[in-house]
């Protein structure tokens, strides 16, 4: 274990190279801005102000689309709301401090984004894009009917001193951009914000980690709207009089394309998007070419980024830097021989005795006879999709402190069972109880919070997070010093123990650099750090080599002892099952055909015929 710690420090050193670069970048930007703001001619200062304003909108898109994966085609509409509010209030209170007004514009737009996000909680993908385009078109038509405050009477918005000066206005725009960037970055690093990446990667995966999917989407959308609203307020002060054309749906589309092209989820990408949006038309103007050609150029750039499919310009740069930084550090899970605790279990089969029957008639009676408390109880579970019966009257009991394997041929209903227990299938009849409490009607998130954690057959760990971030998200962000109910150790201790136990790579390693097998193990780690009552592991050894698979089996067998939770293990590899589980349940065609201690069940003729027989002939 000591060796792993030392390795961890070395890896942190390598990873911090990007952090140093980050810091250098910020310092350089600050110096450049001050010099530019003081020395450049006013025209250039004006253009650079517009760069900051567009970068604000782009950063919002980076959050909504890049982080949370929601395609938003209405970010300039939120800017229109901000601009409208600032125009209206500035007319009424001309002496009000202008920065406050601009922030008010953002604060006005945010709840509208939040509401729109809530209304579309269960809408995803392209339908979400349709909703946002509908909003953009509707707001545009309504704005064209009326107009912005002050336009009718010809009274422009005049920012109160000192912001009536172009250089001060430049400072204000960049200061607000930096302020919002710091806010968004803090948000993205919070546990709630890590949920955005999880939602983007997979809503199922996010809910299984206990993330509120709807709330995560709504908050991302609200923050994106906040950025746009502030940008709209700044535009009101810059233009004086606003027109609907500034905020037309087309400008929303072009800004989205530019954000995609540049990779605006990162601050550098957002600033680059601002630079493109301002200087591409500027260059075209100087060349005597029509300005709207710029839109097509930016769109074609976005097309190319989509075609390559590896992120916008700055995201690619960042990815390359990361790859170099972690090139020599360990990126997969590694398992030295386990140090035995004194009272380690002596072998899975010996751990649980009890009655043996290949097809139990009455599981309750057997439990009572056994004396072991049922932790997770599934009774008479039936699931059918249309005419197909996936599960037919299934009973299954996982006792506290055991590793229980669930096996069966492909299509036997193993993963469906996990789906039902974890709350991902609504159309089931029968009972699922945890500690004797019925879970009927509880959402996937609630079940996850109550201590039923799962991993997926297809890895869902979000590629955009690092190992450390993923574990923090999975642990649910409760205080590190907190002791979980029923868990034998503190959160921080537990998290450290899980890292060492499963030999995870360093905290700063991005998940996208890990191989598939290690990501699967990372998901197991994610389940364990949350101090679950029971962990449902869906084929954790898939994608691992033979030696690694043996090492993982050894560890899974020890999970109940070390982490105080039971395990329900879905696995194809019979040797893996023999090495880990004390009891096993065999499913075939949606029915239980055997259940009990591993050695007994696996030698029952019925099981051999149904499962092992087909396995061998296959």
């Amino acid at each position: 274990m000591r060796r792993a710690e030392r390795g961890g420090k070395a890896r942190a050193g390598l990873g911090s190279r990007t952090a140093v670069l980050d810091r250098a970048g910020w310092a350089l930007l600050a110096v450049l801005l001050v010099v530019a703001g003081l020395t450049l001619p006013v025209y250039w200062v004006y253009l650079l102000t517009t760069v900051a304003i567009t970068a604000l909108v782009a950063r919002g898109i980076g959050l909504v689309t890049g982080r949370a994966g929601l395609i938003s085609l209405c970010q300039m509409s939120f800017a229109a709301i901000g601009g409208w509010v600032v125009s209206a209030v500035a007319l009424d209170q001309p002496d009000a401090p202008f920065p406050l007004l601009v922030l008010l514009g953002g604060v006005a737009a945010a709840p509208i984004g939040w509401l729109l996000g809530l209304a579309t909680t269960r809408v995803r993908g392209v339908e979400f894009a349709v909703v946002t385009l509908g909003f953009a078109a509707a707001l545009d038509l309504v704005l064209r009917q009326g107009s912005f405050p002050g336009v009718g009477s010809g009274t422009p918005v005049l920012p109160a001193a000192p912001f009536d000066d172009a250089r001060w206005y430049f400072a204000l725009a960049w200061a607000l951009l930096l302020l919002l960037q710091l806010t968004l970055r803090a948000g993205e690093r919070s546990v709630h914000g890590l949920g955005w990446s999880a939602v983007r990667s997979s809503e199922r995966g996010a809910a299984a980690l206990g993330v509120r999917v709807g709330a995560a989407k709504a908050s991302a959308f609200a923050l994106g709207a906040l950025c746009s609203g502030v940008a709209g307020g700044l535009l009101a002060g810059q233009y004086g009089l606003l027109t609907p054309q500034v905020f037309s749906p087309l400008t929303s589309l072009v800004t989205l394309a530019t954000a995609v092209l540049c990779g605006a989820a990162l601050f550098g990408g957002a600033v680059l998007a601002g630079v493109f949006a301002v200087f591409v038309p500027e260059v075209l103007r100087r060349l005597g070419m029509p300005l709207d050609v710029g839109n097509a150029l930016l769109a074609i750039g976005a097309f190319d980024v989509l075609r390559r499919g590896n992120g916008g310009i700055v995201e690619q740069l960042r990815a390359r830097l990361e790859e170099r930084a972690f090139a020599r550090s360990r990126r997969s899970c590694e398992w030295p021989a386990l140090e035995r605790t004194d009272d380690a279990p002596q072998g899975a089969d010996a751990a649980h005795g009890g009655s043996v029957s290949a097809a139990p008639d009455d599981p309750d009676a057997r439990e009572r006879a056994n004396g072991a408390s049922p932790l997770l109880a599934v009774r008479n579970l039936t699931v059918s999709y249309g005419g197909t019966v996936a599960l037919n009257g299934v009973d299954l009991t996982v006792r506290a402190g055991e590793v229980h394997a669930l096996i069966g041929p492909n299509g036997a209903g193993k993963s469906t069972l996990i789906d039902v227990v974890t709350g991902f299938t609504g159309s089931a009849s029968g009972e699922v109880q945890l500690d004797g409490i019925d879970l009927d009607g509880r959402s996937a998130r609630v079940r996850s919070r109550r201590g039923i954690r799962r991993t997926f057959q297809h890895v869902r760990a979000p590629e955009t997070l690092t190992v450390g971030e993923y574990l923090r998200l999975a642990a649910g962000g409760r205080a590190a010093g907190m002791r979980d109910p029923g868990a034998p150790m503190l959160r921080a201790e537990r998290s450290q123990a899980v890292r060492a136990f499963l030999g995870l790579p360093g905290d700063r390693v991005p998940i996208r650099l890990m191989d598939a097998g290690s990501r699967r193990v990372l998901e197991v780690a994610g389940a364990l750090v949350s101090a679950p009552r029971v962990a449902l592991l869906d084929e954790p050894a898939a994608g691992l080599g033979a030696a690694e698979s043996r090492a993982l089996a050894e560890r899974i067998r020890e999970i109940p002892e070390r982490f105080g939770c039971a395990v329900l293990l879905v696995e194809h590899d019979i040797e893996f099952v023999r090495a880990t589980a004390s009891r096993v349940t065999v499913l075939d065609d949606g029915r239980v055909i055997g259940s009990g201690p591993v050695a007994e069940v696996l030698s029952a003729p019925k099981v051999i015929a149904a499962y092992l027989g087909t396995e061998r002939s296959a």
């Binding site: 269960r122 769109a299 959402s443």
Partner: protein, 285 residues
């Protein structure tokens, strides 16, 4: 009020035809085409430019339909060539790029001033139960119905339709069966492009549109398509007609008239909340 509803049916037919195109393309090629109306507008504007230049109407219409079909086919080729393996979301974002490029091209070729567009059908109207119905309305309704019927028949009852359905569900397996999916999908694109131009030729005389405003008629069409979850041709068609009728009626009510442009959005929001009242999870495990 009834007058308003009937006069709204011309717009409604255009929305309906566009919506049917969007649905068919979504079902068969797996892309939600945000540029559907822009492709149509490209052909429609070409048609009016030709008419303005003195060419016969029939020839101009044919040229417009052909041009839109070609643009759409080109877009289909680009998507098949570079985005064959991408998910529906990425492919649909590519059509946003297509929309931007077409809008730029439209501004360059046709300018951005509103145009007065002559009706393609003679100014003739008759009274039914005290409501004036124009010939254009009648033609538009018949055309909508005919298009919906024939596309449904194509999907369900022809060899090509079945191949197309198979293609949208399992593109790779169908390709392995030796069916040229790329040619088929380009064909579907071209047909929907020409139909979109037809739809916009119907509605243009009532609007004096700019290229941009015509291109964003895709919004009501998307709203109608959404009602049928982008898979039901008939709900999309009826939804489009109903949207047009609602707008027509709204135009006659003073309190609503200014905000009738927001009707599609209201429909979209109501539709998504209703359709998604039960929790449905994303992609399978």
């Amino acid at each position: 009020m009834l007058d308003g509803i009937v006069s709204g049916l011309v717009s409604g037919s255009a929305y309906a035809i566009l919506a049917v195109c969007v649905v068919v393309l979504h079902r068969l090629v797996g892309v939600l085409n945000f540029g559907q109306a822009a492709i149509g507008a490209f052909g429609a504007f070409l048609c009016y430019v030709l008419i303005g230049g003195g060419s016969p109407i029939a020839l101009a219409v044919l040229a417009g339909l052909g041009a839109a079909g070609a643009v759409a086919g080109g877009a289909g080729w680009v998507l098949a060539r570079w985005f064959g393996d991408s998910g529906p979301l990425i492919r649909s974002v590519v059509t946003v790029v297509l929309l931007i490029v077409l809008l730029t091209l439209g501004f360059r070729l046709y300018g951005d001033t509103p145009r007065v567009m002559p009706s393609l059908f003679p100014e003739f109207s008759f009274a039914v139960a005290g409501v004036r119905v124009s010939l254009t309305t009648l033609v538009a309704l018949v055309a909508t119905f005919a298009i919906a019927v024939s596309l449904t028949a194509l999907l369900k009852h022809t060899r090509v339709g079945i191949r197309l359905q198979a293609m949208s569900e399992r593109p790779t397996s169908v390709q392995l069966l030796g069916i040229n999916t790329r040619a088929l999908s380009i064909g579907v694109w071209a047909i929907t492009g020409a139909l979109a131009t037809f739809a916009l030729l119907l509605v243009a005389p009532t609007r004096n549109p700019t290229f941009e405003s015509m291109s964003f008629l895709v919004v009501p069409a998307l709203a109608a398509g959404l009602l049928g979850a982008f898979s039901n041709v008939w709900i999309a068609a009826l939804g489009g007609l109903a949207l047009g009728a609602l707008e027509g009626a709204g135009a006659r009510i003073a309190a609503v008239a200014e905000f009738r442009g927001a009707i599609p959005f209201v429909i979209i929001i109501v539709a998504v909340i209703w359709m998604r009242r039960a929790e449905v999870w994303d992609a399978a495990r």
